[in-house]
Structures are given as structure tokens and as C-alpha cells.
Symmetry: C2
Subunit: 521 residues, 2 copies
């Protein structure tokens, strides 16, 4: 189906994608400008976060690109299986959490256990996700001027040639952007019905789980686990490492961690740290997970639902075979800071090059590849970045933990709420939008915040927050603390706060900024 000379509306795109989903449309969707005789500067294999943003950027720079995706839409796994359902489920978790704590109080009715349904939320997501897909197809064509072939797998022929939709396309460069998939643990029983990863959950769930065992302690384990538990599905997390103390998460402050993990336990989750899954057992459907506990004992955890949250691995194999690109010991494609692989003219971006498998990295990798391809030398260092996850809360952090800062600087001070020594029960701070009802009913649920300051340079070197509504700010705090001059508590004292601000950093810093020798608050 060639849409090049048509301009499907949002609804038109939605119908097209719906049709492809149910198999009514099984041909490629082609949007290629045959009148443009220029060679492609790049073909992007995969139109997810990295491929779409890289394509848009290359196009904005005046280059010519083609992006090819096996799915009938651009945007990739984020709106289809990953960030978007995760955010929908995390919002459900937050609202369910409030409804439980407030059960029978104020206008909140008695909370009915098992009224909330995981299956219903999954179905809600499935029914609506194509709207976002439609928008990305529309925007990419109408606003960004991109060329693309969708609903068609791409086969790499060589470093300049790709086959898709029965046609060969050539380009000065290739950009590989096919992402990652769950790294399944090496235990028996994962093929028994009732075992899901985040992708399988939204594609295949067709019954209502009553109990859940989560294998793995990744971000996704915390996020989906908090949602499952909030719906009333009793959830156990089986994790080798203590939660949030895994290699894949850096700069997790211990006070932040304990607030979050204690909060998950207070909501009824069972967290088995130092535990290993041994096998999934079942009988046409999973019935349990055998685990080896921290003390060496083995036990079968009864369950009708297993969720695997053990992290992801790059889909690099086809490119190793076709092009011989170098990969690392985890199977991720090796690139330099310009996103160039070991094969000249071939770039790789996003989850395909390994951790962190985050949106900002995928998109900026795409931008980086585009700039270099268009002749602008540009390097992207993603070793430091702001990070977040959801429990029933939004948990956000950037920069150093208190412990890391104390190792690096001689004179570290901490500005936090509640202050050290004050019990969470005694002080409903920090609070703001999202925690006001808790502030007046359950102060210990209002969250936690900490700002870590190198007292000598007066710079903020780390910021940490549990609550709601601060996440958006951390994008800008990250930018500010990375400036050559950094972000000092004196800068903070000059800012115009919007009170009540979820993280309270500005006014708290201002209370200390007058001091020549700043101390804890």
C-alpha cells in the first residue's frame, strides 16, 4: 500500500494500523518519495525511539533518510509495549494505593479487594494504543517529512543495501535500531502458559491473575510488581540483589532506596532478596516457582502468574550475521561516541548498544548518528543521566548519592525532608500536589527528598526524590548541574519557586544560602 501521495488523517492512520493488527492489511505501507533522486544518506533499520528521532533529525538537517519497521507504525516498543503501558499501569497503582489507604474515609468508598483487574487494564491499553501509533505515523509524514516503509521486515544485504517490501534500497550509511528483548533466565518451565514478560503481558494476557511471582529485580520488576500488588494480586519479587541495588541502576541513594522498598513492603509485597529462581512449575498453566532462598533452603511459591523482570538484551544477532559488527560480552553492539560500529558506514543506536535502555539515550543516539552522517562531528556521552522509576510513587534521582559524594568531597552537607532524626510519621514533608491528602491523614506516606551539596564549592552534586510531580523538574536539574559552573545553592536561592513545589529544594537551599559555611538542614 503506497501512501506517499496520500495524507491519511489521524483517524485514517488509526484504521490502517488496526487493519494491520488484525491481519486485514498484510502488505507493506510505503511512504517513499520516488521523485527524489538523491541517494539516501541513511537507512534506519527500526523506527522506534532512536530510529524515528534519528530520522527526523537527519531530515531536519536536510538529509534524506528511509526508516523501515516490521510493525505498521513508528515509535517502536515504547508506545506499544513498554513506557506507555508502564505509565498507565503505574498511574493505576498510584490511584489504587490512594483508594486503599483512604478506604472508607472522606469521599472514598470502602475499597473492594479484587475489584481492580489487571486484565481489564491490559485490555484498556490494547484497545487504545493504536491512537498514539497513528499520531506518530501522521507526525512523521506530515510534520517531519520522513520517508518510511512499515509493516515490513528489513533484510540487511551489506553495509549499504537493505531489502524490504521486495525491493532493494541503498544508502551511504545504515543505522541499526532494532532494540532489545527480554533476557530470559536459564531455568526450566518458562514455556508453561502463565509466564509473561512486559511485552507478552500486553499482547497475550487472557485471564485474571490472583497471585504473582516476579523473577528478577529490575526497574520493570518494581514497576509492574507495584501495579500487580495494587490491584489486589498478591505479589512476590524474587531477586538476587537487593532491590534498587543492582548494577543496572547507578546512583541510588540508600535513604531513597529504603523509603521506596519499605513502602513496597508496607503495601503487602513480599520481597525475597538474595533468592534465586530454580524452575517454574505447572500443569498446563503455571502453579508455582521453585526458589532457592538466601539461606539455601528451597521452596515453591504458589502462583498462577509469573512475570519475568530480569532485564533485556540487544537484538544484535542478525547484524552480526549480515555485517559482522562487533558485540560485547552481553551481546550489545559496540559503538564509539559517534554511534559508529566496527563496520564503516554502519551505526547502531538505542537499546541495541546496551544500557541504559532509556528513552533519552535512544533518541539522542539517533540524533548523534544523524549529525555525524550529515558531516557534523558530534559525540554523545550517556554515562551520567537523570533516572526514575515508579513504585506506587514517582522516584527520581540525578547525580551522586550521599555516600558517593562523601567519598569524593571532604565537606558534604545534606538538605533533606524530613530532616535526619525526624520520623516520617511526625512530619508531612515533603508534600505538594499528589501527597496533600496523605499529609493530612498519613504523613509517613508523603515521600522523601534529599539534596546533596559539596559545601566547599556550594554545588548541588545530587538530588533525590520520592513523591509525585518532581520528575519533570529533574530533566532540567540534570542540565543545570552538568554546566561547567554547576548549580549552586546560591543559584537556587535566586530562583522563583512555585510553592508548594514537590521537591522543596529551592526554598530549603535558600534557608542555607546566606551562610558562608553551609551546614545540613
Amino acid at each position: 500500500m503506497d501512501v506517499t501521495d496520500r495524507s491519511p488523517s489521524l483517524n485514517g492512520w488509526r484504521e490502517l494500523i488496526d487493519g494491520a493488527e488484525i491481519g486485514e492489511i498484510d502488505e507493506p505501507i510505503i511512504n517513499v518519495d520516488r521523485d527524489d533522486t538523491r541517494e539516501y544518506d541513511a537507512i534506519f533499520i527500526g523506527g522506534g525511539a532512536g530510529g524515528r528521532f534519528g530520522s527526523a533529525y537527519l531530515r531536519a538537517l536536510g538529509g534524506r533518510q528511509l526508516v523501515i519497521d516490521k510493525w505498521p507504525f513508528l515509535g517502536g516498543s515504547c508506545p506499544h509495549q513498554a513506557c506507555v503501558p508502564h505509565h498507565l499501569f503505574s498511574e493505576a497503582a498510584r490511584e489504587l494505593d490512594l483508594a486503599r489507604w483512604m478506604s472508607g474515609k472522606l469521599w472514598f468508598p470502602e475499597f473492594e479487594e479484587k475489584r481492580a483487574s489487571i486484565l481489564e487494564m491490559v485490555e484498556l491499553f490494547r484497545a487504545g494504543r493504536n491512537t498514539a501509533h497513528a499520531f506518530m505515523n501522521w507526525q512523521s509524514k506530515e510534520q517531519l517529512g520522513m520517508e518510511y516503509i512499515l509493516n515490513a521486515p528489513a533484510t540487511v544485504i551489506d553495509a549499504h543495501t537493505v531489502e524490504a517490501a521486495g525491493e532493494r534500497f541503498s544508502a551511504r550509511n545504515l543505522v541499526l535500531a532494532t532494540g532489545a528483548t527480554t533476557r530470559w533466565p536459564a531455568i526450566p518451565g518458562l514455556d508453561i502458559p502463565g509466564v509473561f514478560d512486559f511485552a507478552g503481558l500486553v499482547e497475550d494476557l487472557d485471564y485474571e491473575p490472583n497471585r504473582c511471582v516476579i523473577i528478577g529485580g529490575s526497574k520493570i520488576a518494581l514497576e509492574y510488581g507495584s501495579f500487580f500488588q495494587a490491584t489486589g494480586c498478591a505479589t512476590t519479587i524474587v531477586s538476587r540483589s537487593p532491590l534498587m541495588r543492582t548494577a543496572s541502576l547507578h546512583h541510588v541513594d540508600e535513604d531513597l532506596r529504603s523509603y521506596v522498598v519499605n513502602g513496597m513492603r508496607a503495601r503487602g509485597m513480599t520481597i525475597l532478596e538474595g533468592a534465586e529462581p530454580v524452575e517454574v512449575v505447572g500443569n498446563g498453566r503455571v502453579t508455582g516457582v521453585r526458589v532457592r532462598l538466601a539461606d539455601g533452603r528451597e521452596e515453591v511459591l504458589d502462583t498462577d502468574f509469573v512475570f519475568v523482570g530480569t532485564g533485556e538484551q540487544a537484538r544484535s544477532e542478525p547484524f552480526v550475521e549480515a555485517l559482522g559488527v562487533d558485540i560485547d560480552e552481553r551481546g550489545s553492539i559496540v559503538v564509539d561516541r559517534r554511534m559508529q560500529t566496527s563496520v564503516p558506514g554502519v551505526y547502531a543506536i538505542g537499546d541495541l548498544i546496551g544500557a541504559p535502555m532509556e528513552m533519552f539515550k535512544a533518541r539522542k543516539c539517533g540524533m548523534t548518528a544523524a549529525r555525524n552522517i550529515m558531516g557534523e562531528p558530534y559525540e554523545f556521552d550517556f554515562s551520567e543521566y537523570p533516572d526514575f522509576l515508579h513504585s506506587t510513587y514517582e522516584v527520581t534521582w540525578v547525580g551522586l548519592t550521599e555516600a558517593e559524594a562523601r567519598e569524593r568531597y571532604e565537606n558534604v552537607i545534606v538538605i533533606q525532608m524530613p530532616p535526619k532524626g525526624v520520623e516520617f510519621e511526625d512530619l508531612p514533608l515533603p508534600c505538594a500536589e499528589g501527597t496533600m491528602i496523605y499529609a493530612f491523614t498519613k504523613p509517613e506516606l508523603t515521600g522523601f527528598q534529599k539534596c546533596v551539596v559539596d559545601a566547599d564549592s556550594r554545588r548541588i552534586v545530587g538530588a533525590h526524590h520520592v513523591g509525585y510531580g518532581a520528575k519533570d523538574a529533574f530533566q532540567y536539574i540534570d542540565f543545570l548541574i552538568r554546566r561547567p559552573q554547576g548549580l549552586t545553592i546560591d543559584d537556587m536561592a535566586e530562583m522563583n519557586e512555585l510553592f508548594l513545589n514537590p521537591e522543596h529544594f529551592i526554598q530549603l537551599c535558600r534557608l542555607r544560602a546566606g551562610q558562608r559555611d553551609v551546614v545540613d538542614l
Copy 2:
């Protein structure tokens, strides 16, 4: 009661303030260092936002201060009657709004009209507010080292002398910080029981209102009105000016305004613009408000509850009488950018010097006075600032509106969601935490965002958002756009977004940043 040599715990302070509230403690609460023989650098009259932060800053600079407040706590009206109850009520409005739209769907039960009670929310606030007060007394003494006299009115004798708690105190300077109070309109009937302003509401409400008429169209009118309506109390706003198009709110973009006001109407509020209140009528309790409508007709709006949201005026009178300080035509004390009044050695800060009556201004005024008093020349210009209000949403903005930008710059582009020409019903963007459930059920409720860019300098000159969770970011966006170099879309392209971010600005700017000549998105 002298607490100078005691260190009441948080709970100790709470008991003390509770005791003062019910009249058990009617003596002054004194925390004055009699061993310090230095003259006071300043006495702050009023320990609210400005007085407390000014005192803390002066103390941090090494000066000696005394703050005197008639209430038994520091912090002033914000935690007692203003920002804190407003945030609690606005959070209730948001949750009630969600519960109504989702009534009978997912896990949400059928919404019962009139289950939510304004009175119960007011009582919840009243029962809890002393906890925040206790913290501020504790923090101010234990962490900030301030001296204070509470539960005692201050009488100004001259520019260097104040009497409080039966004692005279002298200082090099006075800082006046007694705030503002409702500017009651000049109409009959405001003394009939059932007429409240924001302060009276939390102090005196003792029945459950069924219908509400709001006189005035200030921020407070929108905020409290949205809450009343959300509880099921049918609310009518009577406003001379169109809502959000009043002199007290600057830089309100028309698209932002119409999204917010249309949203209030969609939730059942009656908004009478161009209308004048004529009188409040009643019979031992209010029964109605006579209004003159935009077309000149008069009509009585039946109601059992009147809320006055006509703005505030400075409590300047005692200082005009005692010191002869100059005031402006609205009664606000006139100060220069150092917060100096017309009387040497006398400063005034916060709401007492007029609009904007916002937290950042009060606190930074206090800081400004403190710095100048301690010999550091420092000027504070608050003519530009980020601003926000609540409907059932968080509404936040900074910088220029699109229309203002088009007047000032030749080549303005706009990056917004939904894009111009796309219907709210067709696109659930922007969405993030707080609007995900709407995104999959009622896309038109997910909010609106707009970023205004001067295409020639590539600078962001305005940012506007309706939704949830972006407010905290606007504090930092304000700081960034005010830098000499401003904040360009190229800076945005370099940032590390935390996706899904409530305002989507970073990635949307990145989609355009590659262009030499940027265009709308």
C-alpha cells in the same frame, strides 16, 4: 512562656500551638537570647513567608534578628489559611474529577453525588494544620537559630522600636511583613452568615453548602470554585473580567486560558463573565446573590454559600499611622528594589507591598531586605516570574504568550500538543503521570501544552502547560530562560528527558532543533 532554654520537640510544639488555639495558652511564647548583647539588626513584624525567610537569611548572614507574630506559630497564612489548604482542596478536586469521569469504569465505583463534603475537608485541614506550624517553630529555632516572640501582637513605636509581650525592643531596622487580607467588594449583605473568604472558610465553616456563588474572578475564585464544584456543590462564578484575563494575571496565553475555562464549564460550573454582584441577600443565612448580568439584566442567584474571591489588599494601615510610610493608590506600601520604604531604616516585604502576592516574592523580599540590612546591596525585580493556578488541573506558565511574542518578534514559531488543527478528542497528548487513565478513556482531558519560540534567536520565550506534574519544572525553566544566553531549542535538544515527561517540551524541541530555519510543530 519562655522557651529560649528549652527545645520543644515537634510534638511539644504541636501541643503548645494546640493549646494557644483553644485559648489554654494566652501568654506570649518567647524565644529570645538574653545573653546576646548585640543590638538587633532587624525586627521583623510578622513571621509569615517573608518574615520567616528574611529572618533566617539575616541570621545565616551572621546578623541578629527578632521576629514577632500575633499567631502562636511562624509561617503565616500560607500553612494556616492559604497555600496549604488550597493545595489540599485542589488535590481533592483532582481526585474527585477523576472519580466522576471514571464512575462505574475500571475499578472506580459509581460516583455518589454529595458524598464528598466541603465541611469534612475543611475540618480535616483544621485538625492537621498545626503539625506544619509546629515544624516551622521547631526548624526556625533548632535549625535556623532564629529569635522570636509568638502569640503576641507587635506595636510599632518608631522606626527603631517595637513593643511586644509588654517589653520594648529596639533594632537598627524594622522589616514590615504583615501581609494582606481580602479586599471585600463594596456591596451590601457581606455580613450575612454564609459569606466567606479563603480565611473565613477554614476558620468558620460549620455547615455543608449545597450551592455556591463566587464573587470575583481571581486565581482563588478558580481554585476554590473548582474544588466546590468537584465536591458536588453547584458553583457559579460572577466575574467582571473574563476568567484568567484579569490585571492580576499576566502572560496568560489565550489557548491555555480557553482550555482551562472550557474545562471548568465542561465540569458543570456556571461562569458569568461581565457580571457585577449587586448585593448578597439572606435571612439569617445567605439565600442568594443579586447580580447585574453582562446584558444589564438583574437576577438573583439562589445559593446557601457565598465565597468572595476578589483579591487582597495590604495590611498597611498601622504602619502608615505609626511611621508615615508611603502607600500607593491600592494601599500597598511603596518600596524600592531593596525593599526600603519611604522611611529610612524601615523595610517592607511580601503581600504588604502589593502584587504579585506569591510565595517566591514574599520569601525573596525577605532575603533582599536581609542582605541590604547586612550591608550587601541587592535588588530584587519581580516583574517577571513563573506562575500557576489550579482548576481540577495544574496550570503553569512562564514567559510570553504566543500573542505577546508575535508582537515582539518577527518570526515566532509554536511547538504544541495537540498540534494546531488537531482536535483534543483525537489525540491523548500531552500525557504522562496523572493523565494516563484519561489518555485511554477521554483523550480530550489529557491537557494542553505550548512552547513559544523566537525562531531567529532560537530561544524559548514562553512555556504554557495544563495537566499534572509539570509545575515543578517551570521553576527551573524560568531560571533557564532568564539567563543572558536564554534557553534555546538547541539546549533542549541536548537535555536528557525523563519520558513520559508531562510537558513533552524536550523531545518536541529536539524534533525541530536540527533545522536551520525552525518551523511550527
